[in-house]
């Protein structure tokens, strides 16, 4: 099977702490911090959206892939917060990175799973021999309604992967997808904020699909959790991925390098893909990586990667995911955050 030839992430520099949100709504910050393992989340600047972050993540992926962008045959942007209701994000991204006009392009949407969806399609096109390279991006600038539990986690970030058949840094050994119709989280057209089914988002939604997908792909590969060096799960909060991982037999040590949610928040379509970029930043040749996304509605895409010898030559060619997490954060108070996220309705 084909694999990843270049990868990159992007996160905005603005942050808001859980305490700052809890203070406004009279909520109990320690319960969010302990219960959901959330510390702070990223906030996009007023001039950032899914398109701008996708371009920056893709440029990082191109720096590592060291290919001519004109050789990219497809651009897929997975998101639930595309800037336009009608007008593709992918065309702007393709134009900005110099991949147009000879490309296939599509915007994908599947709640938090749209990024891994694009990865699966890009990989499949390379496997089918249809093109030399295909670019898949997962990005979101998610919004939670003010005061809703989701407001503590809904964050912004992007991850981009260029798939190809030659000079791969991580080969895909297996993929598996697991889907059912499950009404756990949704947003109707013209609605500003999503709705969710409270506790129903846990067991019948996240845990059922992640467990179903993970169990099946491990079975298909004939592998056990202890055969992996790293495991990355979708991260709606800091607690769910660790809980489902432990139930499956993975350890904290395998999961911690890819667990970004406590400091980054839930970047929705960017969530497990960004976790994967953080793992690729530190992975060594020969290591194996397990990844399982989750998108409400609902389903999971599973991937098993084997790291190749080429990884060490590309890791330092672009900013690392932890650089975006750890350097030069600017902390916002709730007022500035509400203005940046357009939670304040202005008079005419």
């Amino acid at each position: 099977m084909a694999g990843i030839v270049g990868y990159g992430a992007y996160a905005p520099r603005y942050r808001i702490k859980v305490e700052e949100i809890a203070k406004v709504w009279g909520a109990d910050a320690p319960s969010y911090k302990r219960g959901l393992k959330l510390v702070e989340k990223s906030v996009p600047a007023p001039d950032q959206d899914v398109i701008t972050m996708s371009v920056e993540a893709s440029r990082n992926a191109l720096r590592r892939a060291r290919i001519d962008p004109a050789d990219i045959g497809a651009v897929y942007v997975g998101s639930e917060s595309h800037p336009y209701a009608v007008k593709p994000s992918g065309t702007v991204v393709g134009e900005a990175i110099g991949a147009t006009p000879n490309i296939h392009c599509a915007d994908l949407e599947f709640a938090c799973k749209a990024g891994s969806e694009g990865m699966f399609i890009a990989l499949s096109l390379i496997d089918a021999g249809k093109m030399e390279y295909a670019l898949a991006i997962g990005a979101d600038t998610s919004q939670g309604a003010p005061g809703d539990a989701l407001e503590y986690s809904a964050a912004a970030g992007a991850a981009a992967f260029i798939f190809g058949a030659k000079n791969t840094v991580a080969d895909v050994e297996h993929t598996f997808s697991f889907m059912t119709d499950t009404p756990d989280f949704w947003r109707r057209e013209y609605m500003y904020y999503p709705r969710h089914a409270g506790r129903f988002t846990g067991v019948p939604a996240y845990f059922k699909h992640v467990t179903g997908c993970a169990t099946a792909i491990l079975d298909m590969a004939g592998m056990k959790p202890e055969d992996f060096d790293y495991a990355v799960f979708h991260q709606p909060n800091g607690k769910f991925p660790l809980t489902v991982g432990k139930k499956l037999g993975f350890t904290d040590k395998q999961m911690e390098p890819g667990l970004l949610c406590p400091r980054l928040g839930n970047t929705y379509s960017g969530s497990s893909p960004m976790g994967l970029t953080a793992v690729l930043d530190i992975a060594k040749p020969g290591q194996s990586v397990f990844m399982c996304s989750y998108g409400s509605g609902a389903g999971s895409d599973g991937f098993i990667f084997r790291i190749t010898d080429h990884i060490t030559g590309v890791q330092d060619l672009a900013l690392k995911t932890t650089d975006y997490l750890d350097k030069n954060q600017v902390y916002l108070e709730y007022g500035a955050y509400a203005k940046y996220r357009k939670k304040i309705r202005l008079g005419e």
């Binding site: 520099r13 007023p46 001039d47 950032q48 959206d49 701008t52 371009v55 900005a96 110099g98 030069n328």
Partner: protein, 131 residues
């Protein structure tokens, strides 16, 4: 002519920072020119502007035109690109009081403006402090 059409024509410069380099004297022009202002020659090669530089000078806009009023106060500056020409652009992700001349910046892709709530979003480059 609508602003959308003008925005569309400028995509190579706004999105990909494409400039022209004079084949006669090597001067780099952004946006590209038809005649070199330095030596008068008319032959150019396409080059892409370097993505990093230093703030040469800046001014802070506190009373902004309506399409930028959400962002005020914000800084507009001239950035000396590393090994390239100087460009004028907004300097984002930095409070005006933290801005200094000589500060290292990089070029990032950002929303520059939008043509109202229902109009086209104009994307382009801005300078931001390096991480």
């Amino acid at each position: 002519m609508s602003t959308s059409a003008r925005y569309w024509r400028e995509i190579p410069q706004r999105y990909r920072y494409e400039a022209s380099k004079c084949k006669g004297c090597g001067a780099v022009w952004f946006p590209p020119r038809l005649i070199c202002s330095a030596c008068g020659k008319k032959e150019f090669e396409d080059v892409v502007l370097p993505g990093t530089g230093k703030v040469k000078t800046f001014t802070v806009i506190r009373v902004a035109p309506s399409e930028f009023s959400d962002e005020a106060p914000y800084a507009i500056g001239i950035v000396d690109l590393d090994g390239g020409p100087a460009i004028q652009c907004q300097i984002a992700d930095c409070a005006p009081e933290d801005l200094k001349t000589g500060m290292a910046v990089k070029i990032e892709f950002r929303k520059v403006k939008q043509e109202g709530e229902a109009g086209i979003i104009n994307y382009g480059f801005k300078a931001v402090p390096v991480l």
